[in-house]
Symmetry: C2
Amino acid sequence: MDRRQDIHNSDIPIPCRACEARHGGICGALTAEELLELSKHTIKHALKPEQEVSTSRSSSQRYSNILKGVVKLSKATSDGRLQIVGLQFAPDFLGRPFGEQDELSAEAVTEVGVCTFPKSVLNQLMDKSPGLERRLYKQSLRELEEARSWMLTLGRKNAQEKVVSFLCLLATHADPELQDDSNKAAFEIPLKRSDIADFLGLTIETVSRQITKLRHAGLITLTDNRFVEIPDLAKLQDLAESGT
Amino acid sequence: MDRRQDIHNSDIPIPCRACEARHGGICGALTAEELLELSKHTIKHALKPEQEVSTSRSSSQRYSNILKGVVKLSKATSDGRLQIVGLQFAPDFLGRPFGEQDELSAEAVTEVGVCTFPKSVLNQLMDKSPGLERRLYKQSLRELEEARSWMLTLGRKNAQEKVVSFLCLLATHADPELQDDSNKAAFEIPLKRSDIADFLGLTIETVSRQITKLRHAGLITLTDNRFVEIPDLAKLQDLAESGT
DNA sequence: CGTCCTATTGAAATTCTTCAACACTCGTGG
DNA sequence: CCACGAGTGTTGAAGAATTTCAATAGGACG
C-alpha cells in the first residue's frame, strides 16, 4: 500500500488525482499543500511527434513533467549534424534549473503528454522543500550516469554493438510488454530510423543494415519495422560489448 | 573582497586555511562550524599520474575534492576498450552521492592533490546544509551539460573536429597561462596521446596525425609534444564544428 | 492514383583503424 | 660515459568499417 495514504485524497488537487506521474515524478516529493500550490500554475499539453517541448530557451519559461510518451533531447553542430543526447520517459522532469541550457532542444518522439509550470514556481518550491531538490538532484545524477554510459557506446563501439546497445536500452527502459521472469523481451521502438541514427551517431543506412543483420541472425524479429521481439535478451546483451 | 570575511580566520580549521579549493569547491558552501566538522575527517593525498582516486566502489568509501591537477573518469567495455567520460579539475568534487556508480573509474592524469572524507560525513552535512546540496546539485548539472556536449563530439564529429574540440576545451578549461584579452591561448596538454585518444574515441595514431595536420596548417604550435600555442583561437573554434 | 514519408539495399568512395617501423627522451646500471 | 630498455609519439601502407550516392519498395493519405 502507498505510504502517502495518510494524506486524504480530498487534499490532492483535482488535476493531480488521476495523474500518472504523481508518485514517480518530482510531485511525489511534495506535500499535499505544496502540490496544491504547484497545481495552481500547471497546464497540461498533448504533443505530436516532432513537436518541440517548451523548455529552457524556448518560448515560455516553463518546466515540464512527462506524463506519457518519449521525449528526445538533442544537440546540433552549426552545420546541422544532429546528436540525440538523451531520451526521457514518463515521469521524468524536463528542464534546467539554475540558468540556461546551452543549445539543447527537446522534442516529442511519440505522442507525448506533459504537465508544465512556470520556472519561478518550482524555484520557490525548491527553496522550501528539501525533498523536492533532493529528488531533482537524484534525477540529474541518473541522467549523468546514462549520458556517460552512452559516451562509451558512442566513442568505442562499432555499428553492430551500437544498435544492439540501443535495443537493450529499450528492452529495459521502455514499457515492458513482456518482461516477466525471462530472457525474452518484446516492445515497440518509439523512434524512427533517423532518430535511432541520431542517437547512435550513425547514418540511417547503417542502422538499417545492422537491423537486417540481426534479423537474419535470428537475434530479433521485426513486425512492421517498429515492433521488436527478442527471443534471447542475454545473448543480445553480450553482443552489446563484444559484437561483430 | 570576499564576502566571507565576517568569518574570522581563526574560525577556519587549520588544514583548510591555505586550501586552494576552500572557496570554489563544495567547502565554499559551508559555515565555519560545518567546515570544522568536515575537516575533522579529511585526509589529503598526493597522487601520481595513473594512480586511482579512492572513489565509489574502490577501497575506502570516501569522497574527494580535487585540490590540484586533473582527474579522468572513464568507463570500459568488458573486452577492455576505454572511454574517458569526463575530465575533472580543481576544485571539483569527486564521488557519487546516493548509491553506487556503475563501473566508473577515476584516476589521476597529472600529479593530483585531493582532500578526501568519509561518505557518511558528507551525507550528514548535506542533510543539514541546503547550500551544500545545492552546490553539489549544480556541479552535477554542469557535468551533465559537459557530458552531453561531448556526446555531440563523439557521435557526430570527424577526427579533425574532435581533436580541435579537445584543444578548445583545454584552452578554456585548463589553467590559462595566456588568456588575457585576446584570441591567443597557450597551455600544457595534461594528457598523453593515449588519454586523448580515449577521450575522443579515436586511436593514438589518428590523434597524432590530426595534430600534425594542425601544426602544418599553422593553426597550432607545439613544443615537446605537450605545450601548445594557439595563435588564433577563434579560427580554431570554427574548425571544431565544420572542419576538414 | 500520385505523392510524401519511411525504410531497405547495392556499389563506390572515404575515413579511420590496424599493423609495422622508426625516432626521441629519460633513467638505470654496467 | 655510454648502452640499454621502457615509455611515448610519429609516420607510412594496407585493410576494414562506415558513409555517401543512388535506386527501389511499401504504406498512409488526400
